[in-house]
């Protein structure tokens, strides 16, 4: 899985010095288990944005996602002294599993309406003259894909998020959501078949649209 690569991206703003923030995650975890407060702070800073975004993807509500991020770290720190890294599994996978379980338990307790995907904030692009057209195409394409993911249903949506955003393996997804890995494989296959249809329809429309090319 590529979780470690993703984490190294979020760590750019905090790492690079000789303090705890520059340590590997495993070293930070070991220090935290001994009660090192600085290591705990570095560990939270390193993962908070990613956990928050994962909660956002699952819950679609920023306020709830922030609450669930805090709950994730609270539960994780309560269990951290007993945490032992298993072979083939990472701290991040363990943390994301807690995050997903927090979100799911909240969603079970409360009637939850899955809100539509929010519009992304304007971004600076390299070619200002292409910006309006590129933006329109990308926005349309992105909305179609996200709508298709929504249309998959809660079970399939969660598997897709854990695979494509959290980068979990089938086994890790299975352990997180409590189903056999064969079920995860089956749900992913179903989801991909549906998303492939959306992609192919989009490509056909993009090809028919004069003067526009697919991003």
């Amino acid at each position: 899985m590529n979780i470690r690569q993703r984490v190294s991206v979020t760590q750019v703003g905090a790492g690079g010095d000789s303090g705890p923030a520059g340590l590997e995650t495993e070293d930070l975890v070991r220090r935290c288990q001994k009660g090192d407060r600085l290591a705990l702070e570095a560990l939270i800073v390193r993962h908070q944005t990613y956990v928050f975004r994962l909660c956002c993807l699952v819950m679609r509500n920023e306020q709830d996602a922030e609450d669930m991020t805090q709950e994730t770290f609270v539960r994780a720190c309560r269990a951290l002294p007993r945490y032992q890294q298993r072979e083939g599994s990472s701290f991040e996978a363990w943390l994301y599993r807690i995050a997903v379980n927090c979100c799911r338990s909240r969603m079970r307790r409360k009637w939850y309406q899955v809100l539509p995907w929010p519009e992304p904030a304007p971004q600076i692009v390299a070619e200002p003259e292409d910006q309006p057209e590129r933006k329109a195409v990308q926005s349309e394409w992105r909305t179609e894909m996200l709508d298709a993911i929504d249309s998959l249903g809660e079970k399939h949506r969660l598997v897709v998020i854990l695979r494509y955003y959290a980068g979990m393996s089938n086994e890790e997804i299975a352990e997180t959501i409590g189903v056999p890995s064969g079920t995860v494989r089956s749900r992913l296959h179903t989801a991909r078949e549906r998303l492939r249809q959306v992609l192919e329809e989009h490509e056909v429309r993009a090809a028919q649209r004069p003067g526009r090319k697919h991003a």
Binding site: G35, R37, P118, L146, I149, Y165, L199
Partner: protein, 278 residues
Amino acid sequence: MNCSLVDTLIDDYTDGELSPREQGRLEAHLASCPRCMDELRRRTVLDHAVRQAIGAAVQHRYLAPAAGDRFHRAARDQLRRGIWLQRARSIGQLVGGLAMALLVLAGLVVMLDRLSLPAGLNPVTLLPAKHLIPSGRQMVEVSPEGPWDPEGLQPPVPGAGTRPGLTLSAGGSFVEPEPIVPGEAFTLTLLIHNNLPKTLKSAEFDLEISGPAGYFQFPLSVAGPLPASGISLVRISAASLAETCQAKYMLPPSAIFRLPGTYKVRITLFGPGAEPRQ
């Protein structure tokens, strides 16, 4: 590998879930099959598109500036509590383990104390319990003088059966239980044959037992009548030896066979026709 198999494996291939062997076989097929290679390209494009769409949906989401501090404060308290609980759990496990070990030790001591260890064994060796109590014929065997008769038949006492008077019948003495358990009650049975044509009122005999526990000699008498030309059954219980045993050897009769091993029993009859008691 055929194309239909590739269709089933391609998900696992792009997910990195295939074994190196399966991966090698799949890649060999992909290199020679344009259809499957096109399928792989489409799958890769799809994966990239989904990842990009999901990433873009939350790319602009950031936590509130104060959220990090709040997380840290809440997590710090829980971590401290978790460490304390973990230490308490470790101490509890240690104490529980020690208590269990003490209980086992106490149980062993009580068990060993209840066992009557044979004096010949060294209790320090802490042999398994089955070795502490000998079983079967290795316990106490009572044999007549001379070779042991497996049928339990005892030859007549030398000198007694060759002349008229009192003799022990063939197979005329046996011990119950057989073998005797050290320290437990026993009974010695005699079949005395009166060869004389007259009934006897009484008879006297000596009982001698020698073995690992020592030598014991008991002068005994039988209150008749012993029918003429008949056989009389005489039972000697441990209780009947108690008084003599206590007076003569300062031991209870259970101490006669207190040690495992082979014992010899000799009966010497005194009466008309037999040797007089010395």
